[in-house]
């Protein structure tokens, strides 16, 4: 699918990969493998426009009339609730059969939480659930179990970003801006339920490093095949414990050492060294 996006961008230089679907009526929006692509209507033929209008997903963010949403996206200063802490769960649901199903899906998902303040869709695929802090809130793993359950009944594939608890005050919209970006980053990740801890590294790298010349040149220097990737990720996951790593990789300890040695010779990075390992781990992100 990445190939398809690349091809699309090549054929239609006007098209853009964007974080949020564009609300400009002069654009069409598409969701391709979890990535929004928007394309300007101006330079398209009528035939193309007709075809695209059939499959594009118009952004109706603008029509959401919800006090929480308006507050979170800075459209109003009116604070929707006081003296409570809330967290925002953002979700994207793929493979829903119909709009009716979407409402059912949301009500079932909502029912699995005890202290929902509000929940609503912000477009065809993504929605928000706001939950009050109590001492019985689900942790990330429990949310994951629930989402698997709901997905298995609806034959859907969902991603959830579980926000932190925050007081409801004038800072919350700014915090939400950041959580919104983290949510979008989390859609690319393997785990389908994420929170600040699981996304932050990937997020920071993308924001600050990934497109720098230094990072790109470094990355080019390392010959990243799947074996190397797996070795580095597993070493990191096992806290550099060689016995554990070789067990997880089903390699003999000496084979692992040999591969680490070879990597050291080729790249100058010594994976036995904690700092070098972390750097290589980040390079793979």
């Amino acid at each position: 699918m990445l190939g398809s996006i690349a091809k699309l961008l090549e054929l239609y230089p006007d098209a853009k990969v964007v974080i949020e679907p564009s609300s400009d009526p002069h654009n069409y929006n598409f969701l391709i493998s979890g990535q929004w692509v928007t394309i300007k209507k101006d330079h398209l033929s009528n035939r193309e426009k007709f075809l695209l209008s059939l499959v594009s997903q118009d952004n109706n963010n603008k029509s959401i009339n919800n006090q929480w949403w308006n507050f979170l996206v800075h459209e109003t200063d009116k604070i929707p609730a006081e003296k409570i802490n809330v967290r925002v769960l953002q979700f994207e649901v793929q493979k829903l059969e119909s709009d009716d199903r979407a409402n059912e899906w949301l009500s079932v998902f909502e029912d699995t939480f005890d202290d929902v303040v509000d929940s609503f869709w912000i477009n065809k695929y993504t929605g928000i659930l706001i939950e009050k802090e109590t001492n019985t809130n689900m942790d990330k793993l429990e949310v994951q179990r629930m989402i698997e359950l709901v997905d298995s009944d609806f034959y859907t594939k969902s991603h959830v970003y579980v926000g932190q608890f925050w007081p409801v005050n004038d800072k919350l919209p700014n915090i939400f801006d950041m959580e919104r970006q983290l949510f979008h980053k989390s859609l690319e990740m393997k785990e389908r339920v994420n929170n600040l801890s699981t996304v932050i590294l990937d997020f920071l790298i993308e924001q600050n490093l990934k497109n720098t010349d230094m990072f790109k040149s470094l990355k080019n220097k390392i010959d990243i095949d799947s074996k190397t990737t797996q070795m580095i990720n597993t070493l990191y996951k096992c806290d550099s414990n060689l016995a554990k790593t070789s067990k997880m990789l089903f390699l003999h300890r000496n084979t692992l050492l040999y591969r680490m040695e070879k990597f050291h010779e080729q790249t100058g990075f010594d994976l036995k060294d904690r700092d070098d390992l972390v750097l290589c781990f980040l390079l793979l992100k």
Binding site: M1, L2, K95, D111, R145, Y155, S226, F250
Partner: protein, 369 residues
């Protein structure tokens, strides 16, 4: 009656690099009523493959054919598949009955039909008397059975299970394993079961698909993958404790390693190596712990495959005992009769049954046959 064909299936995730496939060239024909297990280490592509069959992940390249019909683009709900996930959960506010009935209610089945299906599933699983309970009032095993019940009521001809037992404690895991095997015998549902646990694969599967790094390494019955592993990866992954491997040099019917191990091969074995052109070459010798013996009778038969070794660690396991031993610098593990138990530090003569040995090309790691 259902058959599944996976024809040269590839998967690349949207954010992956150009040629970095999570699954490559997965090719498998699944027969009606078969119990297939995908097994392999973490990240090898088991879940990805399963989720492509379920329709939850797009197929990048290749064809999925179910009962002769091209299904790549069929919506998940139309695939006639029931899926059981790793984190079996239940709706906490619903009774057991309603938990099982829920998927059917969503599909607008009529009440009588739902009751009939739920009652049947409850009977099969021994849950009839718990139908009115809430999940909180059930044991872990009962909850897990309700999770299976939720799949059974769908009446789907295909079950997909992604590590359904991996979050259970060891005892419950063994009993649920038996339960799933029994269900399969009773319902004959074509099943694909994903696990990273080779014991689970060996005990449950009609056929095992061993995967590593996105690629199928071998497909075969438990007996086939155990007795004739195609490569060193399969040989090391299947079987517990793992096969012992030795980097050796082969010449004139004799293998030696740099640490002082010398073994003479039986004629049949050396002939295979000679004919495949491995004389005077480095090869990998593999031998399973159960094919190393401590009885004197074995030594009489294979005097030139016997070594004097020192026990490093030993464990007594009822009828057998495990000896982690060393010959000079070479370490290996043997499973011997409990009578041949030895303490660490003891010297023990161990015989390699080289008729059961495996040889692998040092570079390609393919089995030499």
């Amino acid at each position: 009656m259902v058959e599944i064909d996976l024809n040269h299936i590839y998967k690349r995730y949207a954010n992956a690099e150009e040629n970095n496939y999570a699954v490559s060239d997965f090719d498998l024909h699944i027969k009606d009523k078969e119990f297939i297990v995908f097994v392999g280490p973490s990240g090898c592509g088991k879940s990805t493959t399963l989720r492509m069959i379920a329709g939850l992940e797009d197929i990048t390249k290749g064809e999925l054919i179910i009962d002769g019909k091209y299904e790549n683009d069929t919506a998940p709900k139309d695939r006639n598949i029931a899926m059981v996930f790793q984190n079996y959960a239940l709706y906490p506010h619903m009774t057991v009955f309603d938990n099982m009935a829920f998927g059917l209610k969503l599909r607008k089945y009529d009440k009588d039909k739902i009751k009939e299906k739920v009652d049947y599933a409850a009977k099969v699983l021994g849950l009839t008397e718990y139908l009115d309970r809430k999940p909180a009032a059930l044991s872990g095993g009962q909850r897990q059975r309700v999770a299976l019940g939720r799949a059974i009521v769908r009446d789907a001809p295909i079950f997909l299970m992604d590590e359904p037992l991996s979050n259970l404690d060891a005892k419950l895991r063994v009993s649920m394993r038996a339960e799933i095997a029994r269900l399969h015998q009773e319902l004959h549902t074509t099943t694909i079961y994903v696990t990273h646990d080779q014991t689970e694969a060996m005990t449950m599967a009609d056929r095992i698909v061993v995967m590593s790094m996105g690629e199928v390494q071998q497909i075969g019955t438990p007996k086939e993958v155990y007795e004739s592993p195609k490569n060193k990866f399969v040989a090391g992954f299947i079987g517990s404790p793992s096969m012992n491997f030795f980097d050796v040099h082969y010449k004139d019917g004799i293998v030696t390693d740099s640490e002082g191990l010398t073994l003479k091969l039986p004629e049949g074995r050396s002939k295979v190596l000679d004919e495949a052109g491995y004389d005077d070459k480095d090869v990998t010798l593999g031998i399973r712990p159960e094919d190393i013996h401590a009885e004197g009778a074995m030594e009489e038969t294979f005097p030139e495959a016997t070594v004097e070794s020192e026990v490093v660690v030993s464990e007594l396991l009822g009828a057998t005992s495990m000896l982690y031993s060393r010959v000079d610098g070479t370490e290996f593990v043997a499973i011997v009769d409990a009578r041949d138990y030895h303490k660490p530090g003891d010297k023990v003569r161990l015989t390699f049954d080289l008729n059961k040995a495996h040889f692998f090309d040092e570079k390609t790691t393919d089995a030499i046959r």
